[in-house]
Symmetry: D3
Subunit: 158 residues, 6 copies
């Protein structure tokens, strides 16, 4: 059974994340959308809100699970019997950072492979930190969020 | 009438910003140099000091206005009847970030176009955060500041 | 009067070129879509076919002209009384090349400014050389060509 | 059954290609290493030599096939019932080009997904055109070639 | 006498830093590994711990000194009679930042030249901030640290 | 004795090459400006013209030699007892290519180190292929050529 972890902050989940997971369903038997919790980071939405938003976006798809973890991603993968990490690539700036992380992960655990898909062109501009900026400034972020997700239901933390 | 907003932190305005606005005067009838105020960010110079520094740099040019705003840039543009956002590009790192912002702005408002000029080679190394670092460490930042701006008159905040 | 030259090979014109010119019409009074002829280069379509394809794409728009030239772009601009060169930016690879050319042009003639717009996300993958590859291999390039352009009417050279 | 096509010139196959295919075996049930034949391109090694070199490198692995094609890659995939294209990413220069190709492929055929793995750090400098340059100049290219491939057996064309 | 300063945070020193200094020994008569102290930054390891880790890594090599400074790097160089700054380059993201800093340093002091070496491929993924992340999460960072450095001896601050 | 080879096509030598060599004189005891001859490449200027142009640019500087070679660069270095290769970096596009070459050179010969300097900002746009384009089109390339080099004396080949 091919299990992939799709790690991220998902603060909040965007249309870009949603499309990537849906496309990757042809590759894997199960995809765990997993929120990495970093005690030193400030989030706009609570962990609970972010998990609900992810669940709502995928509408109980049988092959998609939602979870969170607070250890190294490769340790979490091992715990979940996942041999794959799924990541999307949008720009060459993403690329350099993602390459470093995936190569260090591989140096620590040869059995976990990071698999990349290119973000679709029309979603490649969507950047979580700009989305948060729009929300903070009262702009309309709906075009950047998953279709099934109603932004008004989200409890805003900050 | 073609009005452009040139948004930024201008903490402080540099010789790079100055040259860009001067070159863009052939394209636009009015350029508003507009300080975007972000409540979560720490600045080296106060808003008032930054506005005075911009005014001093352009010496009351009839086509240049100085202002500030604390909403989304596209909402500020609409309020000012500006159909254009002006931005400079220095490096490929700039490029990726500027592209995301301009494409998300366009997704939210099709009527506002972001126009880019390449920074001149001899100014392309000037980076506001490095300028602040020089000032904090007591170095001579004058070569990186507009010719009409006297750094000694600036009130240093931090 | 603000005149811009939009230089390129247009071998053939793509949906990306078309959208860029249409967006730039708010900035300029006239845009000359100008095919730069390079004697050392092999083209897929003849100069004549490429000019007809451009004309057909813009359907006799009163502010758009089609032309060709075989000298330096800045010399052609001066001849046409154009103070602006229009270029689109898709990727950071484009960026480095376009910056070199625009900066060398500016070193040769300070009065001609290159103005850049970012290609829209859904068109940013369109690359003329890949389009030619699709045509050469008998694929369907229509989705990458301007809506008004019928690919079957183009005389294929190679 | 998950079938992937790994397209390329393989002129010649390198240690980088070899490692990538071996790592991807956990993802796919069959990988077709397929030489794309481009009539306009000059190769250092003949098609036959390149195919033998690939076969020798993988030593008749039951899940790996070697083939060639001279149409569009997505048309070849459809013909082979392959829903995946496998590609490696070494540098941000690769990234921009690979993104364009994969996005145009997806625009032409939504059912074929391109899957990327990052080249391992110690192999990321290996570049086919530099390898050919070394061979042409009589240097020792063995460290950059698959372990099972004996460079002396290759018939050199140019 | 050719003296180079190798400036950085070294929080902590990595195998990448170690290899770079060792390779640069053929170029310089003395290399000062110098910790730049920034009052606004939070570090994982104390200044003292970082200095000890550097010393231990190079085992009292006669041409390598360890020091710290809290002024501009070029002012520190002048004080130490160093005409060279040594820096490593790993990725194109590094490149853009390093270029800005080196060019601004040169604008302030023409006599100090920044010399770059490329990080070796197998070390190019090593990124201090990812190393800190591994340490904070209890992972094994030893493969990324200098061979002579025992991570267990380091006093962890945060 | 520290000897560096500065390899290139120098078709023709530019102000960028000239400045780089002059800055590197503080690092090396001798710099050999060496034209790499590639039988498969077409040049604008003859080998002889290119060598004279380099000599004229440096005006018989005692530490600078001019030469050419037609083998691998690392083999030429060994023959000349040079332990260093000197290269300039202008853009992130340069970076990716230079990194591959320097890393493959190091894989073949650990004793030869490639040393990089950043091109000065005002020279970073100068690109040999654009310079050739200007010359071919009858433009004024003098601003991009070394001060001591008179372009009219060069015999133009193509």
């Amino acid at each position: 059974m091919k299990i992939a972890v799709f790690p991220g902050s998902f603060d909040p989940i965007t249309r870009g994340h949603e499309a990537l997971v849906n496309r990757a369903l042809t590759l894997f038997d199960k995809i765990i959308v997993a929120i990495g919790v970093n005690a030193n980071k400030n989030y706009l939405f609570s962990l609970d809100t972010r998990k609900k938003a992810i669940s709502q976006s995928f509408g109980n798809h049988p092959k998609i699970e939602v979870d969170h973890y607070s250890c190294l991603t490769i340790d979490y993968c091992r715990e979940m019997n996942a041999n794959f990490i799924l990541r999307g690539l949008r720009t060459s700036a993403d690329f350099n950072f993602e390459r470093s992380i995936s190569q260090m992960n591989q140096a620590m655990n040869r059995n976990i492979e990071t698999v990349f898909l290119m973000t679709e062109p029309e979603l490649s501009a969507i950047n979580s930190s700009i989305v948060r900026d729009i929300i903070r400034n009262g702009g309309n972020a709906q075009p950047f969020l998953p279709g099934k997700l109603d932004i008004k239901e989200l409890d805003r933390l900050v």
